[in-house]
């Protein structure tokens, strides 16, 4: 019987968990914990090497990651950064290619090796940047968006280069031909993806949108379709996944799919980084330690500075440029993949893999900390930067607002209440994650944020911690406890509960009022019945108002 649950796997997971908890406690990014797990268990003690399961998961990890990234690419949203990131991406790649190759020559490597190193180090790590920025809720801020855009441009370049290498470096004509072939194929499946999704997918998804489970399966089927297609066309599976994601992103239900795919991606990515650590062969590491440290320590600051100027040149503000640059100082996991590919086609030797791998380790480790503390670093360096460069733009429009109402969840009760609330408050934000409400909520006057209030970006967007009144219409105990914790002391907090036990506990947590599902309506009917028993006419009058509301609701709601 195939043994999935080997002692090796157990050791990996347990170590990873312990280190991750430790990392959390000491304020470190969890990625470091995962890489460390791999290093400790692999080269560190030669306990285990990659198992089949970890291999499989880490390959799936990268694929799912790109699917997830694709899902975030709503075309309207990336339109405004398309030009800048393409410019930055192209220039930056040329720049670091030259830098990497040049320094390698100076360090004593031969021409082929230096060119290879140059092409390996010019990328930044999609996995690392996306993960860390998402953890810090900075992925939808301007620097985050720019970085993701640049990384995607790089991903396209990676694909092209990989295709070139694997078809062997023949004559220049072949290379150029292949280059355009790949580009064409990518555009082709992207177009198909987007067209298909607009025409067919949204209807299909609409039918099953009420079932989270089925939605996930459909999303995965869609993704795998394009992944397979990409494989058949000899483009990388990651690009296939990305294209699938982009297609799906144009459909409203993409958010639900995102939410469902995210935990899977988290797990697979964790294993990816663990695998990364495991795959380092100790001997290869030591071959070029000195050189790796030199190149690494040059790359990090130079990348930061170069990106800073490049971004600023495109017209963005100081903070955006600084943060955007600081996030991208590492080299990519793709450098390892490229190196492996290079070895298998005989272009480079094994020790170069160690060299490139060590650079990746160094820069990833360093940049994890840089990203972790990016905002604090900006605060520290701001006075110095201001002296050197002039600041005239502030594009990090802070979504700061005060004096507003935040509503979580949108059920029938909410629907009725919000209408009335508009009479007393101008600033109402509705946070809801039900795809069925999307159309209705988009059509209303107040602000609408689609998503789960527990997710960082959503929380920030709604400014729930600065709200005056917070009302949760979602009768989920756990969620409401978390919401209560998010609110400020001065706010008025109203939540919903399924039963009285939960209500009691929520009061303990300083809720001001707890809506218990059937209690209010029972009370109301009780009052109405009093009138019924005393004065039939009056009762009918009172009830007519409510009945009108019902009729109105039933017509507008469908």
């Amino acid at each position: 019987m195939i043994e999935v649950f080997t002692a090796d796997l157990a050791l990996i997971i347990i170590t990873a968990t312990l280190l991750a908890f430790l990392a959390r406690k000491t304020g470190q990014p969890t990625i470091v914990a995962y890489i460390a797990t791999g290093l400790i268990l692999g080269p560190g003690s030669s306990l285990i090497s990659e198992t089949e399961v970890t291999q499989l998961f880490s390959e799936l990890g990268l694929v799912f990651l790109l699917f997830l990234i694709g899902l975030e690419m709503e075309l309207e949203e990336i339109e405004d950064i398309l030009r800048p990131v393409t410019m930055i991406g192209a220039i930056q790649m040329a720049l670091f290619f030259g830098l990497g190759a040049g320094i390698s020559v100076l360090l004593g490597f031969n021409m082929v090796e230096s060119l290879f190193t140059g092409s390996a180090v010019m990328f930044s790590s999609t996995a690392l940047v996306v993960k860390l920025l998402t953890d810090k809720d900075q992925i939808s801020d301007m620097p985050g968006r720019l970085d993701v855009g640049i990384l995607l441009v790089q991903d396209v370049a990676v694909v092209v280069i990989m295709a070139l290498i694997s078809s062997g470096l023949g004559n220049p004509a072949e290379i150029v031909f292949r280059f355009f072939e790949v580009l064409l194929l990518i555009s082709l499946i992207s177009t198909i993806s987007i067209l298909l999704s607009r025409k067919g997918l949204s209807r299909v998804l609409g039918k099953v949108s009420d079932n989270q489970h089925t939605l996930l399966i459909f999303g995965l089927a869609w993704a795998f379709l394009f992944i397979s297609a990409a494989e058949l066309l000899n483009i990388s599976t990651e690009i296939g996944a990305f294209v699938a994601g982009v297609g799906l992103a144009q459909v409203p239900y993409s958010h639900e799919v995102q939410e469902r795919v995210r935990p899977m991606t988290d797990l697979f990515m964790a294993i990816f980084f663990i695998n990364f650590g495991l795959s380092i062969v100790p001997e290869h590491l030591t071959a070029y330690i000195f050189e790796a440290f030199i190149l690494g320590s040059i790359l990090v600051p130079v990348k930061a500075i170069a990106y800073f100027y490049l971004i600023k040149h495109q017209g963005y503000g100081l903070e955006t440029s600084f943060l955007g640059g600081l996030n991208m100082t590492q080299t990519s996991e793709f450098s390892l993949i490229l190196a492996t590919l290079g070895i298998s086609t005989g272009i480079i030797g094994e020790s170069l893999l160690g060299f490139i791998g060590l650079i990746a380790l160094i820069t990833m480790g360093a940049s994890s900390y840089l990203i972790q503390y990016n905002e604090k670093l900006f605060e520290k360096f701001r006075p110095y930067i201001k002296k050197i460069v002039s600041e005239n733009i502030n594009d990090l429009a802070e979504n700061s607002r005060t004096g507003h109402v935040v509503i979580v969840g949108y059920d029938e009760l909410a629907r009725n209440t919000v209408d009335e609330l508009e009479k007393f408050f101008d600033q109402i934000a509705v946070v809801d994650r039900n795809p069925e409400n999307v159309e209705e909520l988009r059509g209303l006057d107040h602000e609408y944020i689609y998503g789960d209030i527990r997710h960082g970006e959503v929380k920030k967007s709604a400014s729930i911690d600065k709200a005056d009144i917070v009302i949760s219409f979602v009768p989920k105990f756990n969620l409401n406890k978390q919401i209560l914790r998010m609110c400020s002391e001065e706010s008025t907090r109203i939540v919903k509960a399924e039963n009285f036990e939960e209500a009691s506990e929520l009061y303990e947590m300083d809720a001001h009022y707890v809506i218990v599902k059937n209690m209010l309506s029972g009370d109301r009917l009780g009052e109405q019945l009093k009138v019924y028993l005393e004065d039939r006419e009056l009762f009918h009058q009172e009830v007519t108002e409510e009945k009108k509301k019902i009729e109105w609701r039933s017509r507008t709601w469908k």
């Binding site: 649950f5 908890f21 089925t214 397979s228 935990p263 009335e420 009917l525 009780g526 028993l533 017509r555």
Partner: protein, 555 residues
């Protein structure tokens, strides 16, 4: 990666079948199995479980097939893990004595019948034991999925089904432990070891998990890792103790079965479970080959036992315990499938060479059909009930006139009755939950115990001379039935949504309680107060808090 094309085929086929099923509201599991049959048919994936593999020889399966099997195994692990996670002893307690008695009787009788049927068919004793397990236990996944709305709305038969399902899960686990023990004495050891593992899990749940959750500090990533560690740790433990893997998975789920952490874990690990378990069920389907006559025979017998005999026995037992015909029948009908635990037992037993291919195939086939049938019976349960129900004996009419009949003694009903009592109204309560009827009678009110859909119940409540009927039952069927009654003119019913309410108003309801609309009026009043009055907030909080406490104490 070769696995990519396999996974693509799996998910595309699964999606196609799911889409088809969605129109008929069928559950997902049979869809996957059928998708598996299709996939298996196309690719010939099935032969990879060869005799060599079974005998531990070197197999020639490809890397993709190996990876697929790994993923499928993870499916089992995650599936049973989520069972453990959702296992809430409190929900078990709610109809505990009824369910416990019913389950014991039903499992015993059906089990014994099935065992004899098995031996008659020529199975070995172990095989017959597996056969009877497959019939006796019902599926939590399917059964509960179908009953979701009822459980949500706290209808009696929903609660009964839920606790019966939970008890059967426990029985299933015990059976797994025993079945995979290699001899009689070993069985006792296994039971003992298994119980110890469960106790360990419960201890960890009590004392360990809060600590872990606090350290995780709301990070879903860390919680997920903790859940995985628990899973792999427990599986390691059970492997070491030579117990079946599913015991470990369940125990792992149990360690985290503390609310609200289990919900968090379900959110994150839920997708993983969906992913892997889909692969598992598809793989299961792929293992089915064209059935022989013997397989069909065994499968049909299993189907008859599961879909007909089991519900009948359950029904009788519940009736014997004093429940009304409708609740009994609806509960019984929700149990008419084969459990997915049985499917897991069967594949593990097959791969461990304990049972024959014949039994394996028949259980899977019968299981799939029973799940499809089950969703059919669910959708048409009212009609089935109407066709099969017994004649009701007419009880004496109550002697009230010009009274108000309140249907349903739940939170809403109680508050309505409280208000009515203050106005000295005459009240009669109709309820189908015997415990609630006792509560009603203890309060000194007139109570009528019976099924709302039976005219005899209304006759007993003397509806022709009533002034007003108020129904708090959140069911369109019930509301429509009430509106069909000739008397009285004034009827107030309940609907959950505005468009349903509109329909009921058209059918003659004097008024419809749409809890969300009605509540909003009050809520808005409160909000107005909050805006205009500084002290309102604190007063409201204090008053509401006291009300809640009072209510809790009076229960």
């Amino acid at each position: 990666m070769e696995i990519i094309s396999t996974l693509t085929m799996i998910f595309l086929t699964a999606s196609a079948v799911l889409l088809l099923f969605h129109r008929y509201d069928h559950p997902a599991m049979p869809a996957y199995i059928i998708a598996g049959v299709i996939v298996g048919g196309i690719t010939g994936l099935e032969p990879f479980i060869t005799q060599e593999l079974l005998n531990g020889g070197i197999s020639e399966i490809t890397l993709a097939e190996e990876q697929l099997l790994s993923l499928a195994q993870l499916g089992i692990a995650f599936l049973v893990f989520t069972f453990g996670l959702k296992f809430d002893p409190k929900r078990l307690k709610q109809e505990a004595s009824t369910s416990l008695d019913t389950t014991t009787v039903q499992v015993f009788i059906v089990g014994v019948l099935a065992y004899f049927a098995g031996t008659t068919l020529g199975f070995t004793s172990i095989e017959s034991a597996v056969f009877s397990t497959a019939t006796a236990l019902s599926s939590s996944l399917v059964g509960l999925q179908l009953a979701d709305r009822e459980i949500q709305n706290e209808l009696l038969h929903g609660r009964i089904s839920e606790s019966i399902h939970l008890i059967q899960d426990l029985i299933g686990l015990t059976l797994i432990t025993v079945l995979f023990a290699t001899s009689a004495s070993n069985a006792f050891y296994s039971l003992g070891a298994g119980t110890l593992v469960m106790i360990l899990a419960l201890l960890l749940r009590e004392y360990g998990f809060d600590f872990v959750a606090r350290e995780a500090d709301f990070s879903t990533e860390l919680m997920m890792l903790a859940g995985l560690t628990s899973l792999i740790g427990m599986i390691g433990l059970t492997t070491y103790l030579e117990l079946p893997m599913v015991i470990g998975s369940f125990a792992a789920g149990l360690t985290a079965a503390k609310f609200p952490h289990n919900m968090e874990l379900l959110d994150t690990l839920g997708s993983l479970k969906d992913f892997f378990s889909a692969i598992f069920f598809v793989a299961l389907g792929a293992l089915i080959s064209v059935p022989t006559l013997e397989v069909l025979l065994a499968a049909s017998i299993l189907l008859v036992l599961t879909s007909i005999i089991k519900p009948v026995i359950t029904y009788r037992t519940l009736r014997f315990q004093g429940l009304d015909p409708r609740t009994s029948m609806l509960s019984a009908l929700s149990l008419d499938q084969v459990s997915e635990i049985a499917l897991i037992i069967v594949i593990q037993a097959f791969l461990a060479n304990i049972i024959s291919d014949l039994l394996f195939q028949s259980v899977i086939i019968a299981g799939t059909f029973s799940m499809l049938l089950s969703s059919y019976t669910k959708r048409h349960e009212e009609r089935i009930y109407q066709k099969l129900r017994p004649e009701k004996e007419v009880e004496e009419r109550i002697s009230l006139k010009d009274h108000i009949i309140v249907v349903g003694y739940d939170v809403q009903g109680i508050r309505i009755i409280d208000s009515l009592i203050k106005e000295d109204a005459r009240i009669a309560v109709i309820e189908n939950d015997p415990e609630k009827i006792s509560a009603v009678k203890e309060r000194g009110l007139e109570g009528v115990y019976g099924d709302i859909m039976d005219i005899e119940t209304w006759q007993e409540a003397n509806y022709t001379e009533a002034e007003l009927i108020i129904s708090t039952v959140p069911s369109m069927k019930v509301s429509k039935k009430i509106l069909e009654l000739g008397y009285p003119e004034d009827k107030i019913v309940r609907a959950e949504e505005a468009d349903e309410a509109s329909i009921l108003l058209d059918r003659g309801a004097m008024h419809v309680i749409v809890p969300d609309i009605a509540s909003s009026e009050l809520l808005i009043d409160h909000l107005e107060g909050l805006v205009h009055n500084e002290n309102y907030r604190e007063k409201l909080r204090r008053k509401s808090l006291l009300e809640v406490r009072e209510y809790l104490e009076s229960r």
